[in-house]
Every structure is written in structure tokens, then in C-alpha cells.
């Protein structure tokens, strides 16, 4: 049902700001791709370029086999003719139209017969569980309901591509959880290729089949959620993904199969790597012992933050601080001594100068 989207060397500038910088992406039909990155990194701009609301300065965009934008050939298909639906961050429901009118607008423009319009509006409302709201005005509905109508408005004209710009960011935390499940289901049923924009890494990890991480307009990594989490291709991605944050430990390769972190050394395979490096280890990958154990380093607990399903422990030795996550409520208390094991099997090694991944964890 969906279609492929191919983006080639896309660049969009606003004056001196390069909002999207030479981005290339090949998205297979039916993919749920999330554009993830901090605010201002160019996600919305990239989305708007695909939608046809913004003309890029360079590059090409294909939707399926159809060339919808090419700077070099001077082609730019108008937004309304790209067969794309877009859910705006603020929903952009027309305040002077009822739900029904909001939804039938695009269908009327396409000159569909009345009966067909009616059928499609009802179907789409049913899909977002909003039947019976046809005659409401947007201001007469809650944020969550407006959000569903915004989705339904897009579904009604059955585009091949769904674009969504932080659709859940204006909802409260609870509603957001519910809507994530709904949206994922919706994508599963409709099968439309979807580009979903968010700055929320949890949202990206839970919903996507593919995550594209952006920074300052540049694509950093395009991978499955699992790979983005476990093997971030550079320090930015590593730091951005995961909560609590990954531990980034700066050190120097000492040439004897060890990384010298100052306070202690970690033995690991450093073949072909020299000079300054950064070790990245996820908080849940650090093993904690309450007794002295061989191959561990002694730390002092600085703070303990239980959160129900797991607890976060902040521990220090000298200037070095690490964050550890352990399941359940931990018996460990502040100022306790703990012995931490940094297993080289679960450590990613990054070049200190470029920030790029140089040695991948083994498991």
C-alpha cells in the first residue's frame, strides 16, 4: 500500500542557517521512519521539504518512482499533488469548519461524489474512534480529540505517505502513551510509508521501524531502534539516545590492550586504535557488586534514585562519575562502597577526536 521515498543530497538553507544539510535517505514502502534530534536540528524543515511546503536549495526527492522535486531539473510538484498527508504539530484544524467539513475539504477539492465523501469521513472517524463528533467545532474538543481529528483528516483522503510533525508533543504524558499505541496500530493497518518527527527518543525507540538521527541539519545515523540504541555511530547519537544517559568515559589507549581512564584502567581490544578515546557504556550494562570482586573498580555511592521498576545509582571515584541502572529497588545506600565491573564486551569505543565509533561492543 505504501510507497518508497527517496531523498538525494537534500539541502535547505534559511539565509546563513543550513537547516538541512546534504541529507540522503532511502525509505522502503511501508516503513515507519522517525526523524529524531534535538529542537532546531532541521527535522521539521526536512519534513516540509518532502511535503512540498518548502522548496529545497539542492537535491532530489522521489515518491515511489515519481520525481516530485529536483533542483537540477527545476521540478517541484505542488504539495497537493504529491499524494501526501501531513499532521501538523499544532494540528492546524480549520477553526471555522466542523469536524465533518475539516475532513471533507480535501475530498471536495478532489470532486468525489457526496456519498463517497460521506462514507470516507465516517470510515476515518471510526478509525480514530471519533464517530459522532461530526458536527463539533475544533474549539469544542479537547487536545487529544483534536489530535485524533487531525489524524482522521489525513486518513480521509488516503495518501500513500503519512508525515507527522511531533503529533503527540502537545498532549499530556498519559494521553501520549495511549496515542503511541494507537498510532502504531494505525500505521500497521494502513501500511502507508510514514515519516514521523520527534525530539523524544523514547517515542522514537518505541514506535519506529527505522530511526534517522539528525544534528544541525546533518544525518548522523539511520538504523533500527535496536542498533541506534546499542551501537550509536557517534558520540552525539550515543549521548542523545537512552535515559538515563550513557556513561561516556574519556581516556587514552595505553598500547597494552588497555584504556587508561586515570582513576582506573579498562582492559579491552584496542587493535588499530590510538590516542584519546571515549568509552561508552550504558547504565544497565555496568555490573554492581557490594563486595570486593576481581576485575572491578571500587566506587563510592553518591546518590540513589529509585523509580519503581528500576533504580539509578550515581557513583564516584575521584573525579570520575558513572550512572548505573539496576532492576527493582536497590538495597544500596548513599556513601556505600560498591565495586563496578566494566565488561569490555558491552563497551563501545569512540575516537576522542572525531567522536566516531571505532570499536563495537561484542554482545
Amino acid at each position: 500500500m505504501g510507497t518508497t521515498i527517496t531523498i538525494k543530497n537534500l539541502t535547505k538553507r534559511f539565509g546563513d542557517v543550513v537547516a538541512v544539510n546534504n541529507v540522503s535517505l532511502a525509505i522502503e514502502a511501508g516503513t515507519f521512519l522517525t526523524l529524531l534530534g534535538p529542537s532546531g536540528c532541521g527535522k521539521t524543515t526536512l519534513l516540509r521539504c518532502v511535503a512540498g511546503l518548502e522548496d529545497p536549495d539542492e537535491g532530489e526527492i522521489y515518491i515511489g518512482d515519481r520525481l516530485v522535486f529536483s533542483r537540477a531539473r527545476g521540478i517541484s510538484v505542488p504539495a497537493g499533488q504529491r499524494d501526501i498527508g501531513l499532521v501538523f504539530q499544532n494540528y492546524a484544524l480549520w477553526p471555522h469548519m466542523t469536524v465533518y467539513k475539516n475532513m471533507s475539504f480535501a475530498l471536495e477539492i478532489r470532486k468525489l461524489p457526496k456519498a463517497e465523501i460521506d462514507k470516507r469521513v465516517k470510515e476515518s472517524l471510526a478509525e480514530v474512534k471519533m464517530l459522532g463528533y461530526e458536527n463539533r467545532y475544533p474549539r469544542e474538543m479537547s487536545g487529544g480529540q483534536q489530535q485524533r481529528i487531525a489524524l482522521a483528516r489525513m486518513l480521509a483522503y488516503r495518501p500513500k505517505v503519512f508525515l507527522m510533525d511531533e503529533p503527540l508533543s502537545n498532549l499530556d504524558a498519559r494521553l501520549r502513551m495511549d496515542m503511541r499505541a494507537e498510532l502504531k496500530r494505525l500505521h500497521y493497518v494502513a501500511g502507508a510509508t510514514t515519516i514521523y518527527v520527534t525530539h523524544d527518543q523514547v517515542e522514537a525507540l518505541t514506535m519506529s521501524s527505522l530511526i534517522a538521527v539528525m544534528k544541525d541539519g546533518v544525518l548522523q545515523q539511520v538504523d533500527t531502534p535496536d542498533r541506534v540504541y546499542r551501537c550509536p555511530s557517534n558520540l552525539f547519537v550515543a549521548d542523545f539516545i537512552g535515559n538515563p544517559k550513557v556513561n561516556l568515559l574519556e581516556g587514552v589507549v595505553d598500547g597494552q590492550g588497555c584504556v587508561d581512564l586515570g582513576e582506573f584502567k579498562v582492559a579491552m581490544d584496542t587493535q588499530g586504535v590510538e590516542g584519546k578515546v571515549v568509552l561508552a557504556i550504558r547504565p544497565e550494562d555496568i555490573a554492581v557488586y557490594t563486595e570486593p570482586t576481581p576485575g572491578t573498580v571500587k566506587f563510592t555511592v553518591y546518590s540513589v534514585l529509585p523509580s519503581g521498576a528500576d533504580s539509578t545509582i550515581v557513583a564516584r571515584t575521584g573525579e570520575r562519575e558513572v550512572t548505573i541502572r539496576v532492576p527493582g529497588i536497590s538495597p544500596i545506600k548513599m556513601d556505600d562502597s560498591v565495586w563496578l565491573k566494566f565488561d569490555p564486551q558491552v563497551i563501545n569505543l569512540y575516537d576522542g577526536a572525531t567522536g566516531n565509533l571505532v570499536a563495537v561492543r561484542k554482545v
Binding site: K8, A72, A79, F88, A92, A106, I109
Partner: protein, 611 residues
């Protein structure tokens, strides 16, 4: 990622691509509309200005009489030298300029005082009846600016200056001093009582928008009341005062009505009346030099004010919508003060109207006894012994045709102004940040700095001859509509921009995504969403056009006479009662319009002033 690089195409394809991009740029909604607006504004604003300047630096046909070797059309400094540095300069330029500056400065300062005090009382005190004061404050402004001047004449006219005695002279039986009857003092007072509304609106908006937290913070820091007023409140209100100053000063500089009623009879000319008399005797070049001088002075004033306001461009940006925590307690005097203020306001409105009405019932001017009572000026048949046989206004077909002209001029102007506002707003907001959008915005501002009478003068030069496909429009009704719409462009642009900003670009983009073309987007999304602004803009323009005089006085002909110019005509012919009757009709129409505005939610004078 498996995406091959984009290949560099051959030259022919690159040219084709550039051509396609250009066409797409040209036909994109914002560019297309901006270019159309630009052409229109160049034609309505820049070309006339150019033609006016051109006229002042070339010999005109009639100059041959004064300068024997003049060749019409030849470049010359003759007019400028004549106006700026010759025997007649004093009479034609320097004295009127001095008078204009005196009158404008005086009226502006007095208006500032009245308007600010009232605003403070309404917004920042516990005076009773504040709501009433608030409502009354806008009424003088919706009446024609020279209403009070006409009423002044009824009250203070004097035989000394060659007129008939006014009511006061009639009652006390002694001559009124000329300085009280005519000249700068009456002009200043009557103008200030009209224009204080600007200051009232600006200052009360500023006082309302000041976050009381700022003052609370100062009070917590131990500052005294007067210190807070001086150091916190005043600086925050200053931009509002300066905005009011610019607006009032430039309006008074370009106002024709009041000075013509109260200055011309004693040969106290201001630039505006001088432009009129130059144009009336066919000395267009002289009139245009005066108009240019007037424009330059207005620009300089605005520039100086802008420098003073500096980075604090607008008071709207100060703090949020703080509610007023500090209400000054006026103590036992509050009721007396309220009564005083309301009596003042009612007098300023009712007394002039009463005097004008009283005067229309007096058969022989200067005699205010009941035995002199007549309805002749309202409903009398033509009588050769009275007013040269002019019938009463309600029997006079000329008055009906003037009234109809006034109404259709106001309707047409209001419609096109409001429509233009939406389109200007669209082109400017959609193109934000582009040079084209800035250019449109800047040009749209130009009429703001051109005083009314000068703007009218500009149009004489433009439309007396055929320009390209457009026939000479001088003397036509269409020209009155065009000049009125053009003069309103700055206001329509501002209100259009704020209306568009409220709509938000996503709402239109959602229409684009749905496949709607430009016309469908305008019809189904943009017009409906800006309709409130459209309606209030329409009604306000209707009122301001109805009572406009300075702008069109140079352009009306007997066939296109409107009510405002008709009163001036009667005044100048000495048919005071007729003039007063006509202005009362005009005020009635304006008040009806204002009543209709009140019925529409969202319509307010403030919005119409582009605040």
C-alpha cells in the same frame, strides 16, 4: 545508504531548470500577489509623487506670463526659488509654515495632556463612571475634525473681523477680541478637542499592557509612589506618547478644515490652506512645492520620534496582559472629579452640536433671539432673498446627491480597503524575510507620512492627464475612491498583517496539503478566518472616509461634491446656517455608522487605527 549521487546535468537542461524555477517563483501565490500589489502601489503612490516633484522643477504653461523666456516643460528652479527665496516666500511659505508648526505643536501638546490624563483616570484610578468616560472619549474623533471649529464660530464670531456677531457677542453686547474668535488659539483648542482620542487610546492601551508586576517589584524595592510613576510607569508609556505625537502632529499639519474655518477669514494661513488657495487659482507648481515642504516636515517629525523611541518600538512588547493591581485612590474627591470629567466630555460633544443646531434655526445671522427662529434652512422653499435662493437642505437635490456621493464613496473605499488589507497582509506575511515582502511593506507605509491635503495634491498632478492606458481621472468619482483607498493603504496593510498573523501559516498550508489552489484557499480558509478583521476594517474605513475633507477637497468638482466638501463650500460662501445643517446631517450619518460598528463584535476604533 544506497542512494546514488545526483549527477550534474548538461547546460541546456540547467537553463531549462532555471527557467522552470523562475516561472514557479513568479507564479507562487505570495510573489504573484506581491508583484501585483507592487505595480498597483507604484502607480498609486510613487508615480504621483514623482509627477508632483517633476511639476515643481519644470516650467508650466502659465509661467510664460511671469517669465517671458520660459519654455513649458523645461527644467527650472524657478518655482523653488520663488517659494523659498523671493519677495513672496514669506507670505506664501514661511508664514504659513510657521503657523502650521505653531498650530500642530500646540494642538498636539494640548491633546496629549487631555488624552493622557483621561487615560490615566480611566485605567489607573478608582474614579466612578470610568466606563462612560471611556466610551465618550472616542466620540469627538469620529465626528468631522472641523465640527468644533464651526461651532466655535457660532459661539465666538465677532463683527471686528468683518463677520456677523456670534452668540456670545450677541448676549454680552460687546465685541469679542479677534484672537479669541479667529487664529491660532481657537484652531489649537478645536483641533486638540478632536485629536485627544489618539492619545487616550494609545496611552490607555499602554497603561493596560504594562505588567503591574514591574510596579510591584519597584514598590517592594522601596520606591515611592511618585518615583514609581516617574521611573517605571512614565518610561513605559513614553513610546505610546510618542506614537500619539507622530500621529496627531502629522494629521494636524495636513488638516484643512479647522484652519480654513478659523484662520482663513483673518488671513491666518497654514500650509494646508495655502496649498488649497494656490491650487484654486491654478498655481499647481506653487501648491506642490508647499505640499513637498509639508511632507518633508512630517517625515522629519516621524524620523525624530522614531529615533527617540529607539529600540522600544512598540509598547505592545512590554510584559504580558498584566491586570491592574495599583489603582490610585482619589479619596473623597473622586465623585467630583468624575462629574467634572464627564461634564467636560459631554460639553465637548453636545455643546458644539447644540450650537450648530441652534444656528441653523436662525433666519438672519448674528441674531439669536427666538423671534428670528426659522425652519427655512432645513425645509424652506427657494427664496431669492435668503442664501441666494438656495432651498433648505432637506429640499435641496444637491444635498441629496452629496449625501449619496458620501455614502457610496465611503462604501466603495471601505470595501476596497478591507479587501486590499487581506491581500496585503497575505503577501507581506507569507513573504516575511524576503526583500519583496519588505519592499511591499515599506511602500505601503508611504501614504502615512503624506499629510491628507498633500496626498490630494499629488493626485491632481497624476490624473489630470492620460497615463498609459488610464484616462484622465480628474473630476471623476472614481478618482475620489482611488485617492481614499490609496491613503488608507498603511492602515489596511497593518491590520491585514495582524489579521494574517493570527491565522497562522499552518492553516493555509493544511489547505495546500489538501490540494486546494490559491483561490480555493482564499475563499474557504483565509477570507473566512479574517472576516472579523475585514468587517471591522470595513466599518471603520466607512466612518473615516465619510468625514474626510483634507484628502479630497482639492479633487471634488461640483458633480462629485460630498457632504464634507459641501459644508466647506457653504462656509466659504458665508451660508453658515446651510453649512451647519449639512455638517449635522454628516454627523448623523457617521453616528449611525458608529452605532453599527458597536453592534459588531471585534469592531473598535482602536483596531481601525492599526494599533
Amino acid at each position: 545508504m544506497g542512494v546514488p549521487e545526483v549527477l550534474q546535468p548538461p547546460l541546456s537542461l540547467r537553463i531549462l531548470a532555471a527557467y522552470r524555477r523562475f516561472i514557479r517563483w513568479l507564479t507562487s501565490a505570495r510573489v504573484l500577489l506581491a508583484l501585483i500589489l507592487l505595480v498597483m502601489m507604484v502607480y498609486l503612490i510613487l508615480v504621483p509623487l514623482y509627477r508632483m516633484v517633476e511639476t515643481t522643477v519644470t516650467y508650466q504653461e502659465r509661467d510664460v506670463l511671469a517669465v517671458p523666456d520660459a519654455v513649458p516643460g523645461q527644467l527650472t528652479a524657478y518655482h523653488w526659488v520663488r517659494m523659498l527665496a523671493s519677495r513672496v516666500s514669506r507670505v506664501f511659505l514661511y508664514a504659513p509654515l510657521q503657523h502650521s508648526l505653531v498650530v500642530a505643536t500646540g494642538a498636539t501638546l494640548l491633546a496629549m495632556f487631555i488624552g493622557s490624563v483621561l487615560a490615566w483616570l480611566v485605567i489607573r484610578t478608582d474614579m466612578p463612571g470610568r466606563h462612560l468616560v471611556n466610551n465618550l472619549a472616542t466620540i469627538p474623533y469620529i465626528m468631522p475634525s472641523w465640527t468644533i471649529a464651526m461651532a466655535w464660530k457660532v459661539m465666538f464670531n465677532t463683527r471686528v473681523a468683518g463677520g456677523t456677531p456670534g452668540l456670545l457677542e450677541y448676549l454680552i453686547g460687546r465685541p469679542i477680541p479677534t484672537w479669541l474668535a479667529y487664529g491660532p488659539i481657537p484652531i489649537i483648542i478645536s483641533s486638540a478637542l478632536h485629536y485627544y482620542t489618539f492619545f487616550f487610546l494609545f496611552v490607555s492601551a499602554a497603561l493596560m499592557s504594562i505588567d503591574s508586576n514591574l510596579e510591584d517589584a519597584a514598590e517592594l524595592a522601596g520606591a515611592s509612589r511618585s518615583r514609581i510613576l516617574r521611573r517605571i510607569t512614565f518610561p513605559l508609556v513614553l513610546p505610546a506618547l510618542l506614537s500619539g505625537f507622530i500621529m496627531t502632529f502629522s494629521k494636524v499639519m495636513g488638516t484643512f478644515g479647522g484652519p480654513n474655518v478659523l484662520g482663513t477669514p483673518v488671513r491666518y494661513y497654514v500650509i494646508a490652506t495655502m496649498i488649497r488657495s494656490s491650487v484654486a487659482i491654478g498655481e499647481f507648481a506653487d501648491g506642490f512645492v508647499l505640499a513637498i515642504v509639508l511632507i518633508l516636515f512630517t517625515i522629519v517629525t516621524i524620523y525624530i520620534n522614531q529615533r527617540l523611541i529607539g529600540t522600544r518600538k512598540s509598547y505592545e512588547t512590554i510584559g504580558g496582559r498584566g491586570f491592574v493591581a495599583h489603582v490610585a485612590r482619589l479619596g473623597p474627591w473622586r465623585k467630583v472629579l468624575a462629574a467634572g470629567v464627564i461634564v467636560f466630555q459631554v460639553l465637548v460633544i453636545a455643546l458644539p452640536l447644540g450650537l450648530l443646531a441652534y444656528d441653523t434655526f436662525m433666519l438672519h445671522p448674528g441674531n439669536y433671539s427666538l423671534s428670528n427662529f426659522t425652519l427655512h434652512y432645513w425645509i424652506g422653499k427657494s427664496d431669492i432673498n435668503i442664501a441666494n435662493g438656495t432651498p433648505g437642505v432637506l429640499r435641496n437635490p444637491k444635498i441629496y446627491s452629496s449625501a449619496w456621493n458620501s455614502i457610496r464613496l465611503s462604501l466603495a473605499t471601505a470595501f476596497f480597503t478591507a479587501l486590499l488589507g487581506v491581500i496585503l497582509g497575505y503577501a507581506i506575511v507569507k513573504g516575511r524575510g524576503t526583500r519583496l515582502s519588505k519592499l511591499v511593506e515599506q511602500i505601503s507605509f508611504i501614504p502615512y507620512v503624506i499629510p491628507g491635503i498633500a496626498f490630494g495634491a499629488v493626485y491632481i498632478s497624476m490624473f489630470s492627464k492620460r497615463v498609459g492606458p488610464i484616462p484622465p481621472l480628474y473630476g471623476t468619482f472614481a478618482l475620489l475612491v482611488i485617492v481614499s483607498v490609496a491613503k488608507h493603504i498603511p492602515y489596511s496593510a497593518r491590520s491585514g498583517v495582524s489579521a494574517m498573523l493570527q491565522v497562522g501559516r499552518e492553516l493555509e498550508e493544511a489547505g495546500q496539503m489538501a490540494g486546494a489552489n490559491l483561490w480555493q484557499r482564499f475563499k474557504r480558509i483565509i477570507f473566512p478566518l479574517t472576516s472579523a478583521g475585514f468587517v471591522s476594517g470595513f466599518l471603520l474605513t466607512f466612518i473615516t472616509t465619510m468625514r474626510e475633507l483634507s484628502l479630497i477637497i482639492l479633487l471634488v468638482t461640483p458633480a462629485t461634491q460630498v457632504l464634507s466638501s459641501q459644508t466647506m463650500r457653504y462656509t466659504e460662501n458665508g451660508d453658515t446656517q446651510m453649512a451647519n445643517a449639512v455638517i449635522l446631517i454628516l454627523i448623523t450619518l457617521v453616528l449611525i455608522g458608529n452605532f453599527i460598528i458597536g453592534r459588531f463584535r471585534g469592531g473598535s476604533l482602536k483596531k481601525g487605527l492599526g494599533m
